[in-house]
Amino acid sequence: MGKIVLKKVNKSFGDTAVIPGIDLTIENGEFVVFVGPSGCGKSTLLRLIAGLEDTTSGVIEIDGKDVTGEAPAKRQLAMVFQSYALYPHMSVRKNIAFPLKMAKMPQAEIDRKVEDAARILNLTNYLERRPGQLSGGQRQRVAIGRAIVRQPSAFLFDEPLSNLDAALRGSMRIEISELHQQLKTTMIYVTHDQVEAMTMADKIVVLNAGNIEQVGSPLELYRSPRNLFVAGFIGSPKMNFVTGPYAQARNAATVGVRPEHMTMSTSEGEWRGTVTVAEHLGADTFLHINVDGIGLVTARASGEFAVNHGDTVFITPDPNRIHRFDANGNALA
């Protein structure tokens, strides 16, 4: 009922291998997020699972059944697209009913399921409208509604929130998470936004240039990134990387310190530096500091921290939360 297994899945366009070969198991009911920078192949991977692209080699199994050559409709998956991909000439009701109509379901049952979906998604008052008359968030919900009425074995989301404004994105994130709690169906979610990945996922798959860099729960990735890429990608603001004598003294090629794992002081500390930019957010203060002999470092102070451009500050990295990496960028134990 929604276990997806990828075995040595490869996708090449001509001579370019977009995905050189991926092995991945997605358990039933899991919320898996594919995350990575643009062009890392995360959308392609999702489309391979959906069946919208053909695999060059490798096997895709859903619930133990090989579906590599199957048409999208046969895979029992539902997809929510970035552009929502609603049918513009159909009412909301007809949009949501479309997959059921294609499945030749009796009209009475279609009506019941559409009403149910509309109630879950707060769309009951908009059923007779056209997509063009809805706001971005409502369109997004219609697209989700069209996906849930089919009761698929898994949902695929392709950057579904990237066309929404920040506030709406936050609330839709919660709605999708709640939906997952309610339906307990496998969900695969593609995003380049690591905040979405951290907040929603049971399991994050970090992709880079078509390869899986690391798979794990959000906090696993945060606590023990396997390499420099994951360390730099997960966490906001980005982890600070320090090379040179400071790293060598700790038997590493590179040392990573997260901005939130430093203590700051205006009087004393391990590193001395000059503030270049201070971002006062109220709850947090982000300082961009030019540290003598080390370079530009980002640090976070909790609450208000009264320094400004040009002030001298001292920072001390938390020695227990330092990440060490070898010359190949892999984490050292």
């Binding site: 409709a73 997809m79 049918y87 294609m102």
Partner: protein
């Protein structure tokens, strides 16, 4: 055009062309209306003068009149059906990725650049000719009797020629519309379990509605006045079998020099065009508003 100033400016800028168009339309229409109540024959000027509605009565009582109305409507309707169905099919084919796409598209559009009399002559003498036409050759190759197209199916022959000329136009407009169909919508429909036919009916066809409307309205205007193709091929015959209203009007004016009757026919043609336009707008015009 938001401010008062740009609106005023725009009106001034538009005025010359709007005025010219108005004159261009109003003067001929007024003259036609005037002549339709006159007896006017350049060969016999002595009997000229006002004759009331008798030009209209003569035109109505002409045995060719009903034929010409019927033929006009038949040409419009058949050519529309052929070009729309054929145009949609061709556009669907041309929308597929293939080698030499640009070249093929230019080839498909090229019939539109051929002047109507030239096209009609080519069809008459090289394709449909009963002795040395390509079609006759083909029929003979498979052992059938060649068809005398213009003798036996005059109206159908004219319809085929005109449809061939307008097919590229319909294809071009529909192809452009097809290309603007959102790829994700197609994929969504695919995931929703819609097969090719269902995707066509529920997604492609509604998307094409506006383009189809444009094709219908523009083609109707031109198809109401088909003339050259008839003159060159069947000359309206045999009998009145391929005479349409514009051809009848031209015949009255240029063969019989009955300018009054021809003008009456012209006014009737204007009325017919308005009736057709009314029904066409009623049927498909709402697609333009979306």
């Amino acid at each position: 055009m938001a401010t008062q100033q740009t609106r005023t400016l725009a009106r001034f800028m538009l005025a010359p062309s709007v005025g010219l168009l108005l004159i261009w339309m109003a003067v001929p229409l007024a003259l036609t209306l005037w002549f339709s109540f006159q007896q006017y024959n350049p060969l016999n000027p002595i009997r000229d003068g006002f004759v009331g509605f008798s030009n209209y009565l003569l035109f109505f009582n002409n045995p060719a009149f009903l034929w010409s109305i019927l033929n006009t409507l038949l040409i419009v309707a058949s050519v529309l059906v052929i070009t729309l169905v054929g145009g949609i099919l061709l556009a669907l084919l041309l929308d597929q990725p293939m080698w030499g796409q640009g070249f093929v598209r230019i080839l498909v559009i090229s019939p539109f650049f051929v002047m109507p009399p030239v096209a009609a002559l080519v069809w008459k003498n090289m394709i449909m000719h009963a002795q040395y036409g390509v079609l006759a050759d083909l029929m003979r190759t498979v052992g059938l009797e060649p068809i005398d197209w213009f003798g036996r199916y005059p109206l159908l022959s004219v319809i085929i020629i005109v449809a061939w000329q307008w097919l590229p136009f319909a294809t071009l407009i529909l192809l452009t519309a097809l290309q603007s169909l959102d790829g994700e919508q197609k994929e969504a429909a695919e995931m929703d379990g819609a097969n090719f036919l269902n995707r066509f009916i529920y997604l492609t066809l509604p998307h094409l509605a506006r383009a189809i409307t444009v094709v219908i309205l523009i083609q109707t205007i031109f198809l109401l006045s088909v003339y050259a193709e008839i003159l060159v091929t069947t000359n309206g015959g045999p009998g009145y079998a391929s005479t349409n209203l514009p051809f009848l009007v031209a015949q009255k004016a240029t063969l019989e020099f009955k300018i009054g009757q021809a003008s009456a026919g012209g006014i009737i043609a204007v009325i017919l065009a308005n009736i057709v336009a009314f029904f066409a707008m009623r049927a498909v015009g709402k697609n333009l508003d979306r």
